[in-house]
Amino acid sequence: MKHAVQALAEAKQAEAPAFAAAEYARARATFAGAMQEWEFQNQRHFIYRNYRSARAQARKTVLLCHEAGLKAQQTKDSLTRSVQTRLTMLQSGIRYFEHYYKNLPLSHATFDAYSRAKLQYREAGDSFLRGKIREASKLSAEAGNLMDQASAKARLLLESYFRDYPLWQKNARLARKLSAQGQTVLLIDKLAATCSVLRGGKIAEIFPAEFGRHWTGDKIRKGDKATPEGVYRIIKKRHPGSTRYYKSLLLDYPNAEDQARFAALKRSGLLPRNASIGGGIEIHGEGGKGVSWTDGCIALANADMDRIFRYCNVATPVIIIGSARSLNEYLK
């Protein structure tokens, strides 16, 4: 019986109650049976006592405890490996999200899911380091679900955004062709957040640029805070004093394509009757905020605006594309 008591203690130390609960419960039940039998026999007159059954149950307890201990070890090892893998995947997922999705205009709910995933990942990691494997497993599973949610939404946004990639490629080729023909062309890349100056078919300079809050969409109407995509020209240069954004270059948005699309959307009822196409899209200064903040215009830092202003004239082509790189290239 002493061995049975010791075996139970050892199984408990091996965390059998947590990782081999059923087996440990059986061992305990068998031990309880052994003790009961022992007590029963002790109550009898010594002539009639027979401890064979009690001893057999005690031996069985030792065996069951040994099995429970082994099972606990196996389960714990397996769970530990599984949690480690999950934590590693989470870490990669978070890095991936931060690299490719964090700068997209995601919804508040998506950012919230991502933030909670990140915090729970940390909690899971701390629990794992403290040896609380079951707790780490639960927390990492929850973090994984949140991360999947956030990543799926971000991916969807990105894929939807890249539907127009063939058109962007075409317009980017046009930009290079026009610049090769001797014109200075501005090529705006919304995903890269850049405004490039093209000369002689090549990129001469690149400036960081900021766009409308909902920059991943093509501008459809007034107030949608989207930066339009397409082929435009500068129609007016505004010097300091004639604009509140330091200097500006007014574009001929909406062009014919924009107007045709707007009219079609209105006819189909996808836009309300009182919707207006908008206008006043400029490349202007007061940028350099590090966020997408305009109502649809393209903002540059004032020092960059000075250079652009010098390079451009009325009629300078301004071609705005969603991305010069394909989705696969972007995600490499």
Binding site: K2, A4, L8, F46, F111, K118, Q120, P208, G290, A303
Partner: protein
């Protein structure tokens, strides 16, 4: 005379055996009660290995009791002593558990204060956040993380109140570490931006 003497000896022996032959039920009950009290105090959660050791000791004592019951000449004096020691240990465990819980509460409260301080600093740093691409700070994402951290901080007093001390500890430690990470990120980025502040923003592409 010899017969009387012999009878008296047998009587004395019977009394002695009878006196030591009873299972120390009162001591056993006291030990069980003390262990139950320790479990109620959550010793099994906060001082699990000590609690398990006491339970294992009780199992061993129960086995010893049964072993003694099977003997012709029983003696429970040793068992009585062990039960008394065990009861004392279980009672001490209650006090130790409360002390452990107080320590955790204090640690969590301190960590929460530190977290709130870092969060407040982060809120100020975000206002000074790098103006320009050099910052590479996705401000919206950082602000979302800060909101999540604040929400987690808000849950901690309730967890403490409900006695979920270990959960509160895990949460506050993770939130604090995350807030510190954001703090470092913002400070590094602000420092980097300030160092570059007067350099021309535009740059020429690298030629391949």
């Amino acid at each position: 005379m010899k017969k009387v003497f012999f009878a008296m000896a047998v009587l004395v022996m019977a009394v002695m055996m009878g006196g030591c032959a009873k299972v120390p039920q009162a001591e056993l009950d006291a030990a069980n009660a003390a262990i139950t009290k320790a479990k109620t105090a959550e010793a099994n959660v906060y001082l699990a290995s000590s609690f398990n050791a006491i339970q294992d000791s009780l199992n061993a004592i129960n086995a010893e009791i049964e072993a003694n019951k099977g003997k012709l000449f029983k003696s429970f004096s040793d068992v009585k002593m062990k039960l008394s020691t065990l009861t004392g240990e279980a009672n001490n465990l209650v006090a130790e558990t409360e002390a452990r819980k107080d320590t955790i509460r204090e640690q969590v409260t301190t960590a929460l204060t530190q977290l709130q301080s870092v969060s407040a600093e982060n809120a100020e740093l975000v206002k000074k956040a790098p103006r320009g691409k050099e910052g590479k700070a996705a401000l919206e994402s950082i602000e979302s993380e800060m909101a999540t951290i604040n929400a987690a901080a808000g849950e901690i007093p309730e967890l403490l109140k409900n006695g979920n001390l270990l959960e509160a500890q895990t949460k506050v430690q993770a939130a604090h570490a995350q807030a510190e990470s954001i703090n470092q990120e913002l400070k590094t980025v602000i420092e980097k931006y300030n160092a570059k502040q007067h350099r021309p923003v535009s740059h020429r592409p690298k030629h391949k």
